[in-house]
Symmetry: D2
Subunit: 373 residues, 4 copies
């Protein structure tokens, strides 16, 4: 695979302004462990829309894109290995974690909580493209990876579409369920039918939730939820009254509420409703609040009186990718994440792509930077 | 022990009105397992003040008092047993749980959560004295106990003062720490220096917290906290700025926040401050919100970003008394709960007693219904 | 439903001797909460064979049978309720837990471990039929139930065949998995393809095990395991060498061993092999050693070096029946326990039935005491 | 600090043969992150005796010694940092973990179990001194540390004697108790009064065990156990009958057995006795079987019937040192590990030192390679 001298990327120079196509040089020399990836698919996450609106303090200019698959186009002299130490080769099809951690702070070292690394950074989110090696986000023809990146070779029977279709939502949900320690046969309510909600639903189904209920919308997303295994969906458009929704959940859980409720909405006032949907002694996972949407009125007395356990997890850790990829590979029939991709864009259409996602027109939208979109 | 035909109790006929001394007949006949207790000490809990103000929906008339010790004055024909099946005898000095549970609902039977029994009731809290056997609260000379009550014989080397000094706060805290599963050598912040805070402090100390920090007041309560083992106390009167308090906690925890924070305040806005005092990945126990003080502004994003575990427990279960009494018996030197009793009142002084507690004049106040106060 | 004055039961008067049909009077009067059940199906458990051989110290004479369904033929004057407090009526089809607990010992009260009640007894296992009410085991036309028995009404869409087909194995496995706290996507090996192994397999499958491996035999049982969802079965007849079996498990688990291994064999030397099949840090559940088959050579160093977690659970608790019955009702297509019944016997054929089970001729064998077998 | 060109080490060339003093060159050049430590104290662990007897397959020649403190004598050009990223300087007094892990295998990366790293090695245990940099064990004047070593700067108020007095036993016990998740107020039996037993005792005491019982010997070790906080010690010389010991434990635990039993003996048949000392539902930690002392007769039925949880942990992880050092620093009065050092030897006396430990003549023995012993 011979590399070109330069490649194109879609760059965000300012918030709320169109991304601009720009030419960057490819690195001439790679250190041991470093990789250059020819991008295959670059997923557009809802978070990209928020980043583009300036809702997080991030450095500019920036190449967006944190859900990427591609093929290794070049690697450092003494080679490189995947996350569990197996050698990587030119041409390998891979995915990778965008989060980079320092491996030396107390969170990395003492608390086993690298997702809270004090120096964490993420390709496509908060690593600027200003300096070389520039190619540090997914909306581009090539992507540079530092030696500390967790890389995963994709098995032949796992299409890239499944990986990008599941996106960062699936590993986020895997992280959350690891902490949740849901038991089989527990009743589960998922609040939200978007990517995170769908991923949480798939895991809860796989883990033996019964009944498995989704509260969300719109209608076509709920239909997909039923296809992925929801026993009951409650459409917030059809049942706009939270009390009425609660009665439906009580009806489905022997009048007592759900053992587990998973918040996948990202809207603060969903939390109070969610606590109401739990049975006493139940568990509540706040999974959808990666972004800071501000405070809301919540009653601490409810936590005491109902003896709730309220849990949070943030992003994911590299080992969650192991679980994710194996799950996608083996359970594709039951949970067809690869079918979620409804819209494909070229790199030149990156602004259209963002707009389509912002308008909720899409299932999953992807950029195909090197080919026919 | 020969029983009188009648006895006196202090009765609450209406909220915010003086309690009235009233004469009630003692039951003439006891069913198997039922007891009559000659009351020794009757603790006045801060909750009694709230009940007297009408802040909970409870039936009237009512005899307050849910922290009671006494001696068995009579028992049903075929005898009675303590909580773990040992026979009880006339003259035994006892304590008992005021909560009564149905033992047949899903919370009692399926979820192992009797503290959330669907039909729970509590002597001195929500069982009216209108009907026989009348004597259903602690502010009286005698107390009737139904056969389903969990009764604990007090060992000779455990004074009643220790039991009532610790009050319902200690078993509440034991319940909370059971769920919290604090590990030794974790750093712990206790929010609040009242009875629940002091009980939580004692348990955290005993469980190896290091450092152990109290945020609260006033000064004399914090002094007592240091005597019970606090490594650091932060006086909210001296440090009124929450940010300044947070910096003190960070200083004491290597700049990272506490592994565990326990809310023992009952004021909703303490919760947001408490989340700020946790390190990422930390645990937060909402222990002080037995009463419903209403909602407050809380940010769910904090739970996600900091990967918190927020836990609630409600009241206690009978087995927590086993731990409590053995702890009070064996660790009296380190945690002198018996010294907390600062004020003793006769039954006729019940209104003065309530007023003294309401005005925060007291350490622990008790009514001595049958003797020299 | 009018009751006969007497009924027939198959009675074990001595170990290793034929059971004898005997006539017993039905109780003339029932205390509140007591029931008489007209037996529908009485399952024959492998344990019955062991009991018949005298491998447990139990009182004689005894009516065997601890897997029973039937219809309520009579109930005490003031009625009776099911396990969660709903009223029972004549004609209701029910199942019940055979274990009786004292509800007052430390295991019942303090440790939340009623399966280890100090005074536990069990219908059909160790409650003799010598004294009235006699009808205290399943191999009879009628079964007497004390008021403390946990009774479960069977929903119309749950056939008795499913309940008895799953037998006591399913609730035993539910108890074990509750303690095991298996996480979805863990790799699981089940040692043993008998009733307990099949039940453990069903739960592990439902809980998202991947891969799910059974080591056992004979061939037809392994075929059933595959039908219930095993990804791989290893036939101990075809692969008699434990090292070879271990290599197959390593091959199926990325060379590392299983996250979870569940012992469902009851043969002591299976345990050392099972520890070998675990990955380091794995969990091992000893589920098949209800009977005492004596000690075996085990190396404690393996527990330390591999950092294993080895867990045991004993029998079941009543709430496991709630999970069991709902599971059988809703997941009948995936796990057709009702199809396991291969042999039906009349009460007069009880000795043939025991012999058939002892010879491993049967899937599940049942006695039909009141009808056409 | 100017370095000599060479230094002396005590080298094991063959098992069961005297160690020989040998001269090694100090490295001339250090890579980034590498350190040379001038050894202050080098503890002699009982494991060293086993290694010297050839009970583990290890490469020779070897410099023994895995409990070492010293001062940094040299560091690589671009400096070095301690375990949590703080810069290290010449002259810093330090301790370090001897275990080295690959940080890329599944145990390091996926299972969060670096103690089971597939490529783990340990200074002083299985890294030969044959090749440069040679200085790879504690029995020498200088110790070389690779850049991947977890290094801990010792605070001024923590004497080296405390660190080496506690030795590898304390971090081993910290690891074990982390998995054990003992709750305060649980009854605990420690089997064994050696270094691991004493360390486990200190942690259990600190964590609120009550009562805290040691079964072991000889008499002077038990005396030390009482000084460290044991409520009851049972001398196996005075009470040689395991049944009699069990009765003493039952007497001290309300007739029911201990909530937690910790094996710190390393003799296989202690395990069966330990299971007998647990109450039903209790936890058993196998902590003393770092060495493989072979199998013993154990009854799996006991695990099932008593519903035990049997846990193992192996060695320690670097973060356990954080807990260990802070514990030693702050709790020195209660647990005077620094007083355990009874014997000091020069490097030339290394063989005498090993012999003294082998003969159980010592509390803790140390080599002082650079000074007056």
């Amino acid at each position: 695979m011979s590399l070109p001298g330069t490649c194109q990327c879609a760059v965000m120079d300012a918030f709320n302004r169109p991304l601009a196509l720009r030419e960057f040089p490819l690195p001439e020399r790679l250190e041991p462990g470093e990789l250059i990836v020819e991008v295959d698919l670059s997923g557009i996450c809802g978070t990209d829309v928020h980043l583009h609106k300036g809702q997080l303090a991030i450095p500019l200019p920036l190449i967006l894109g944190h859900e990427t698959t591609g093929r290794i186009a070049a690697l450092g002299d003494s080679g490189a290995t995947d996350f569990v130490g197996r050698p990587l080769r030119i041409g390998d099809r891979i995915a990778f974690t965008v989060g980079r951690t320092c491996r030396s702070c107390r969170y990395c070292r003492v608390y086993r909580l690298p997702s809270r690394c004090e120096k964490r950074s993420a390709y496509g989110v908060n690593i600027s493209c200003r300096q070389a090696p520039h190619l540090l986000g997914g909306y581009g023809q090539y992507h540079f990876l530092y030696a500390d990146t967790a890389v995963f070779r994709l098995p032949d029977d796992l299409p890239s579409e499944a990986v990008v279709g599941a996106g960062c939502a699936l590993v986020t949900a895997i992280h959350g369920f690891e902490k949740l320690a849901m038991q089989w046969a527990e009743s589960v309510v998922i609040q939200g039918a978007g990517p995170v909600g769908l991923a949480a639903l798939a895991i809860a189904k796989e883990a033996g939730a019964r009944p498995l209920i989704v509260v969300g919308g719109p209608r076509d997303r709920l239909e997909r939820c039923r296809r992925f295994g929801a026993d009951l969906t409650i459409d917030i458009d059809e049942v706009p009254d939270p009390d009425a929704r609660r009665r439906l959940v009580l009806d489905a859980t022997g009048g007592i509420g759900a053992d587990v409720v998973v918040e996948c909405v990202g809207i603060p006032n969903a939390v109070a409703e969610g606590w109401d949907l739990c049975r006493d002694g139940g568990k509540y996972l706040v999974l959808g609040h990666y972004g800071d949407a501000g405070p809301t009125m919540l009653n601490p007395h409810v936590i005491t009186r109902k003896e709730l356990t309220v849990l949070g997890t943030w992003g994911s850790e590299p080992q969650h990718w192991i679980t994710s990829l194996e799950f996608l590979r083996t359970r594709r029939d039951a949970y067809p994440f690869h079918e979620l991709i409804t819209h494909r864009f070229s790199l030149a259409q990156a602004n259209e792509a963002l707009a389509a996602v912002a308008d909720w027109q899409t299932g999953k939208a992807v950029i195909v930077p090197n080919g026919q979109a």
